[in-house]
């Protein structure tokens, strides 16, 4: 079968779902965060594919922004996780339940 | 400037002013409150006396004043009186004065108390003076919140907090349900205004389709019914009044509670005549619940406040009956009952509040022979209770009698005409003459007759003219209404007739199917 837009999109949907699976199932904050990165990358793939098939560069530009923002976000997020780890000696979500109900 | 604006504005100004008075000068606080309410009461009485000669303004109202507020929504500050709210305003002002007078018992956080009291008074008077439906609601809510806080802070008994919360939630629910109805009315009227006069005129000329009226009316009926403790939405009343401080119970049971009835009569019935015809039979059944059922409940009460609370619920049933009768006599009677019961409820709660202060208990089983120990209180209370069981000479009798007379002539069909409305009248008469007498006399027997209760041996009557004044004022008002009912009925009747005529004139508008684009709600 000729590879077309749908194929890329299905790959991206799969990646997105796997990323979400990581967020939902893994208990290590860092791995959860990796899942989130996976989801962003899925979006990137879809954007690039759309961009190519729609003859519109905007998608690629959006990917550019997403990558940049994700980098900033990751740096802040990791710093936050590190700061938390310093105080709690844990990066497990189950140790992170002092605020509840 | 309309005197009405002053009447409702003065207490609100006083509330703001009292905020500036230092909390230690309790005397100033009290004096200001009493003086302001006295002035307001005097102005209200002046209103009553000058009513007949005052020039007639928009829509047949007198003393009107209208100031645009949010024009894009059709809201304006619009006050005025006709026969129906005249009595209520006068009653409210007098009760407010009495309530301010009995408030000498408050020692704790006096400043907050008087601020809230003034706020409540202003809200109450505003609610009855407003001819803008939005402001009707606005002022009512404004008056409700002080009620809750006063019950919670200055209330009595272990359960005052839960009582305050129950009353809060219950009344809020009722108010909001009614608000939906009012908004629907506003939107469906086609004129997009809350101005009652415009609404009335427009809807008289172009009535709403019947199906829509059927839909809107119950929102108002049940919402307002909750506010007025319509059976079976009544249980908050005895509970709340039992826990409320004296002045709050007086103002709420006496005046504010009439708001729901007032709006039902003034807005819901004349503006939604078809809806009224559709739903009033149900109201008739429910008001029997008030009159008889709550009367029976009252028979079983051991606590004076519970008794008064339940009997107050029962009395409200007569207003509903009068409204449901849709006759001039009945509606006039309903308004009369509203006014008279306002005085009566205020008087009863004022007295029970006084009694409560004596021993901290209102258990009737432990009282007895108080007529000897407290001749003044006892006499006034016995008179109040007699008024409560419809004794001539008091305003209640006139109102209840008119309701019964009007009800007999009503052609309201119940259950498709299978049951004559006359049976309802007979049942109501039984409730008024027998059931009310049973519980009132049993209470008198237990509290004031017989040998004196041990815990009451040290109780004392209020001493001094000022202490007795509030009770006397209320009692005299009741007597005045009973002896010279034409003071009010002459003014009420034309307005009542307008309402009844509006309902009778109404023909169902062409069915909704002719109005495209608006499926029946």
């Amino acid at each position: 079968m000729k590879v077309g837009l749908e194929h890329y999109l299905l790959i991206s949907a799969g990646l997105f779902s796997l990323g979400l699976l990581g967020v939902i199932l893994r208990r290590n904050l860092l791995v959860m965060y990796m899942g989130l990165e996976l989801m962003l990358n899925a979006a990137n793939l879809a954007l690039v594919a759309f961009s190519r098939y729609n003859k519109n560069l905007d998608g690629q530009l959006m990917v550019f922004f997403i990558i940049t923002v994700a980098a900033a976000e990751v740096s802040v997020g990791l710093a936050l996780i590190v700061a938390l780890y310093r105080r709690r000696q844990s990066a497990h979500v189950e140790d992170l339940t002092s605020l509840k109900f | 400037m309309s005197p009405l604006t002053w009447i409702l504005g003065l207490p609100l100004l006083a509330a703001a002013g009292l905020c500036l008075v230092p909390r230690t000068s309790k005397g100033v606080l009290r004096t200001v409150a009493v003086a302001v309410t006295a002035v307001v009461a005097w102005m209200a009485i002046d209103l009553l006396l000058g009513f007949a000669t005052a020039p007639v303004g928009r829509g047949g109202y007198r003393f009107v004043q209208q100031i645009p507020w949010v024009e894009s929504l059709g809201i304006s500050f619009f006050v005025g009186v006709d026969g129906i709210n005249l009595g209520l305003i006068v009653m409210g002002a007098i009760v407010a004065f009495a309530a301010a007078c009995v408030s000498w018992e408050i020692e704790d956080r006096t400043k907050e108390y008087y601020v809230l009291l003034m706020l409540m008074t202003g809200g109450i008077l505003g609610a009855f003076a407003s001819l803008d439906v939005f402001f009707l609601y606005f002022f009512h809510e404004l008056a409700l919140v002080p009620t809750f806080i006063m019950i919670g802070v200055w209330g009595r008994g272990e359960r005052r907090q839960s009582a305050a919360f129950q009353i809060t939630l219950y009344l809020t629910l009722g108010a909001l349900v009614a608000l939906i109805g009012l908004i629907a009315l506003y939107l469906q009227s086609g004129v997009r205004t809350f101005d009652l006069v415009t609404l009335t005129d427009t809807l008289a000329a172009n009535p709403m389709p019947a199906a829509r009226q059927y839909f809107i009316f119950p929102w108002l009926m049940f919402g307002l019914g909750i506010l007025v403790s319509l059976w079976p939405f009544h249980t908050w009343a005895p509970l709340g009044y039992g826990a409320a401080p004296t002045a709050t119970a007086m103002l709420h049971a006496g005046v504010l509670k009439k708001f729901g009835l007032y709006v039902l009569l003034k807005v819901a019935v004349p503006l939604l005549p078809e809806g009224a015809k559709e739903w009033l039979p149900l109201l008739a059944w429910m008001c029997l619940g008030n009159i008889l059922y709550c009367g029976w409940v009252a028979m079983r009460q051991r606590d004076l406040n519970q008794l008064i609370g339940n009997s107050s619920v029962a009395h409200v049933g007569f207003v509903f009956l009068g409204v449901a009768s849709l006759t001039t006599v009945g509606v006039t009677g309903a308004v009369m009952v509203m006014v008279a019961h306002g005085f009566l409820a205020a008087l009863s709660f004022a007295l029970s509040g006084f009694l409560y202060r004596q021993t901290g208990s209102l258990d009737m089983g432990r009282m007895g022979g108080l007529l000897k120990q407290l001749p003044f209180t006892g006499t006034v209370m016995v008179m109040a209770m007699m008024a409560g069981c419809g004794l001539p000479g008091f305003g209640n009798f006139v109102g209840e009698m008119l309701v019964l007379f009007g009800g007999w002539k009503s052609d309201l069909l119940i259950c498709g005409g299978w049951i004559s409305f006359r049976w309802f009248v007979a049942a109501a008469a039984w409730g008024a003459l027998i059931v009310a007498a049973v519980y009132m006399l049993r209470a008198v027997r237990e509290m004031f007759h017989g040998p004196i209760g041990e815990t009451w041996r040290k109780s004392n009557d209020p001493t001094g003219a000022w202490r007795r004044l509030p009770y006397v004022v209320l009692l005299v008002s009741l007597l005045a209404l009973g002896v010279a009912p034409r003071l009010l009925t002459d003014h009420i009747e034309p307005s009542a007739k307008l309402i009844v005529d509006a309902v009778e004139r109404s023909r169902p508008a062409p069915h909704l199917a002719t109005a495209p684009g608006h499926p029946i709600p």
């Binding site: 590879v3 796997l18 990917v63 990558i67 740096s75 | -």
Partner: protein, 166 residues
């Protein structure tokens, strides 16, 4: 040829992504991170197939390079062990899989049924030149905003990791 490459890259990307989030052999974050790097790389390959060369380069440089190194660095810094508690909440896992399955189903059906690619041919060449022009002309506003964002990120990292608490 490109089709074969697509299936290779796509399959590997999915497989590595799966290994990232649900490695049946190891719960080590390091393993996850390494598989994520691989995923990024295969994705970059897909970008190349889509003629988005600049993006592919950025993907490798920023993501596989910078971001993932940051991850690994943090993992090492914190000396994270494997996820110790292995008692899986069966309900949670089941519900998670159902949710993700549901999401996948929704997305897949939508993509398949909407025939997004019908009649479309891959035409656009994402040249760096075109990208640069767009970025500094039409997309100047978000570009500037991203600069502020990066500043915020910088500030945040400094604030969060500064040792002295004044």
């Amino acid at each position: 040829m490109t089709d074969v490459l697509f299936y290779v890259f796509g399959g590997l990307a999915l497989a590595c992504a799966f290994m990232t989030v649900a490695n049946p052999f190891s719960r080590s974050p390091v393993a996850s991170a390494l598989f994520l790097v691989l995923t990024m790389v295969w994705l970059a390959g897909l970008f190349v197939l889509l003629h988005a060369f600049f993006i592919a380069a950025v993907q490798i440089l920023v993501y596989a390079g910078a971001v993932m190194v940051l991850f690994l660095f943090v993992i090492m810094l914190l000396d994270l062990k494997e996820e110790e508690r292995r008692h899986w909440n069966r309900f949670g896992v089941g519900a998670g899989f159902i949710t993700v399955g549901g999401l996948l189903a929704v997305l897949a059906t939508t993509i398949v049924r909407s025939h997004a690619g019908a009649g479309l041919t891959p035409e656009l060449e994402g040249t760096t030149h075109a990208l640069g022009l767009a970025l500094f002309q039409r997309y100047l506003l978000p570009f500037e905003a991203v600069s502020v964002l990066l500043l915020v990120g910088m500030l945040g990292v400094i604030l969060l990791s500064r040792r002295d608490l004044k």
